[in-house]
């Protein structure tokens, strides 16, 4: 365990290292109560598996037989030992059911881990975007304040009019409100991330990732195949199906009779030929005849439940496929939009701003176009961040095999 991970797990934020997604993921996997709950379910299932297949305990007892009070001595006094021996693979079937229940619990644990990881990733990138949005909101608020001052100066030289000042004032107030909103959302984003890693006291600190991190390029067919193969929801459904199938096996095994064996030993106090009969022994063995009860109902019920579980697993795959379609469409459209902003729209908007600024600094152009182009740049940056937010949410879902469902 490296130092940063240790610090993260210990709840001590590293002062110098920015908050890294991998560290947060490790912390969440270690701490999150949903995972601990799912892990406890696995432990319980494993314990049940140990119990499954255990033999029925033998019965030992005392017996008194042929007691005749008017004839003395009489009676047979002794003891017996009795054992039921399961036959027909019942123990094996029970072990199979238990093992499949362990598998199902493990699948739910994996699904739980996926959900936690999705939450961490989605909330981390949402936080990255929220931090950047806050920066942009601060810039816009400062820009609006400069516009107010610039408008005042324009009025002072007769170029602008009172309505222009009112418009600038209103815009500045609007930008202040948006700044407050951005601060609120940013705080909420930190708290949401803290909850995702089971550290509600997580304090704002520098983040390792930035919005400039390149979005991954995902192939539709490959990603769908991976999502279906790795989906925790699918695995859980398959686990439930496996349990139901093992229960069918178990119910069928139940039809086969168990062997009943009993051994007796005792002393017979009756006399024969003037002598006590003395010790005597007996053995009993038997099986039930599946004549009236062949567990038809149990088998039919388990079979129906298995059919239902298979249908449910298929339905889960369909649900995951549908969710994948939505997430991939969101990913593709948001990524294309974000890429368009990154590669074309923002560079052009930035260049427009820089050209206006350069000409103003050369004193050959006025200042208002500088502010206008700067505002356009920031406004477009906000749109870019919104697209990134959508894209990273979709990427997080796809990378965590559609844990969000």
């Amino acid at each position: 365990m490296n130092l940063i991970l240790w610090l993260a797990l210990a709840g001590v934020p590293a002062q110098s290292a920015p908050l890294d997604l991998a560290t947060l993921e490790a912390q969440a996997l270690q701490r999150h109560p949903a995972i601990r709950a799912a892990a406890a379910e696995v432990d319980a299932a494993k314990a049940r598996a140990k119990q499954a297949g255990a033999w029925v305990n033998p019965v030992i007892g005392a017996s008194a037989d042929e007691l005749r009070p008017r004839e003395q001595p009489s009676g047979v006094f002794g003891g017996f030992i009795q054992q039921t021996i399961p036959l027909g693979g019942k123990l094996s079937a029970a072990k199979g059911v238990a093992a499949s229940q362990v598998g199902e619990a493990e699948a739910r644990l994996a699904e739980s881990r996926q959900r936690v990881l999705f939450d961490v990733r989605q909330r981390y990138y949402a936080l990255v975007v929220a931090e950047e949005r806050l920066s942009v909101a601060k810039e816009l608020a400062a820009l609006a304040a400069r516009t107010v001052e610039m408008t005042r100066q324009l009025i002072n030289v007769g170029i602008a009019d009172r309505p222009d000042q009112l418009g600038a004032d209103a815009e500045a107030a609007r930008m202040q409100a948006r700044l407050a909103e951005a601060q609120t959302f940013r705080l909420a984003a930190w708290q949401r991330l803290g909850a995702a890693i089971a550290d509600p006291a997580l304090a704002p600190q520098p983040l390792a990732q930035s919005v400039s991190e390149a979005l991954p390029v995902l192939d539709r067919a490959d990603t769908l195949a991976r999502v279906l193969a790795e989906s925790g929801a699918v695995a859980s459904a398959d686990g439930a199906l496996a349990v139901q199938k093992s229960l069918v096996t178990s119910e069928k095994a139940a039809v086969r009779p168990d062997l009943f064996v009993r051994g007796d030993a005792g002393g017979n106090r009756e006399r024969a030929d003037g002598r006590a009969i003395g010790p005597q022994f007996g053995v009993e063995a038997g099986v039930s005849i599946p004549l009236f009860n062949r567990n038809q109902g149990g088998i039919a019920s388990a079979t129906s439940l298995a059919i239902g579980a298979a249908a449910s697993a298929e339905a889960v795959r369909l649900d995951v496929t549908a969710a994948f379609a939505s997430a991939f469409a969101e990913y593709e459209s948001a990524r294309a939009l974000a890429e368009s902003y990154r590669a074309e729209i923002l560079p052009k908007a930035r260049l427009a701003y820089e050209l206006h600024l350069a000409k103003y600094q050369e004193m050959v152009a006025a200042y208002p176009p500088v502010l206008q182009s700067e505002r356009s740049l920031f406004s477009m940056t906000e749109d870019y961040l919104a697209a990134l937010d959508r894209a990273w949410t979709a990427v997080s879902a796809l990378r965590t095999a559609m844990a969000v469902r």
Partner: protein, 375 residues
Amino acid sequence: MSAVGVSAQKAAPARSSSAAAPPVGVVTPDVPHLPFTMDGGTKVFRLRAEPVRTEFVPGRVVDAWGFNGSVPGPTIEATEGDRVRIIMENRLPEVFAPHWHGLEVPVEMDGTPGISQPPIAPGESFTYEFTLRQNGTFFYHSHMAMQEMMGMIGFFIVHPAAAHQPAVDRDFGICLQEWMIHPNNTVPNTLAMEFNWLTMNGKAAPATTPIVVKRGERVRIRLINMGMDHHPIHLHGMQFVVTGTEAGRAAGPFGMRENTVLVGVAQARDIEFVASSPGDWMLHCHLPHHMMNQMASMVGPMMVDPGAPSAKVSGYPQDMWMPMDHLAGKKPELLGLPANWTGAMMGMMTLVRVVEPAMFDEIARLRAAGREARS
């Protein structure tokens, strides 16, 4: 062809005392002269109408249209009675026709597209030939309106065989133009009705080349205007008389002394004066907006400190004081000017420098040697 003409752009010769002496040549600062060849008794000039990339001030690139690589086009100089042939080639991407503004020519030579001739198609040429029966300040320009605003104008000076009396020692020509060009664009907006670049001979102050004369010399300045605005041209320090218009030499005597002459659109005005007062005298259009380059309000953080008392003064800021000596360069004509002389020299401005003979000779020597003025 039996002879080749030469430019009269070099320093003008000294005035002849003879009343029958030929006139001095015209100097059009920053604009070349158009050479000619002789074909028998005919002076043959060749002009190309074409896109021209130029600079109003160093670094301020403009994609205009002109002639033979120059905006304004090169100055044609001829003498009354000359037979001239002008072979006009159209290297523009569209039709075009040149008009000989003020010259009395046969109508088929008038250059009015669709009336006197079909417009010259791209890649085609048209030959104009006529005899000059006037003398004075004329000009040639495209007769397509928007092409005019792209810069397509040039001087057509017709001298009398003998200099008008009293003869001038120095003769100059200045072409007035206005342009609308966005700060980050190089192409003029010819549809604009307001302008942000004002030029004299294709240069905006402080990049205009001053007129340099000796104290006591008689000077003529020919002003032509082909644009959208009229220009009241004002000379500091001296009075002048108007001796000619776009119709040629006016009838004397020239009694009304002035120091500001309104040069209307499509007009020419010749002004003459004796350079009696030594000094560096501004010559400029007096429309306030024509005394700036790329005019823009200077409100904003570069000029105004919101916390300073000046920010509370109504009307502040107004001044456009911006010394830019580096834009003027070190031309010999700038010799001896003080530092920051460019601070209020912008737009349609130049200087008439009336200097002592020694200074004049030093400037002439530097010009001849192709050297720069000392800083």
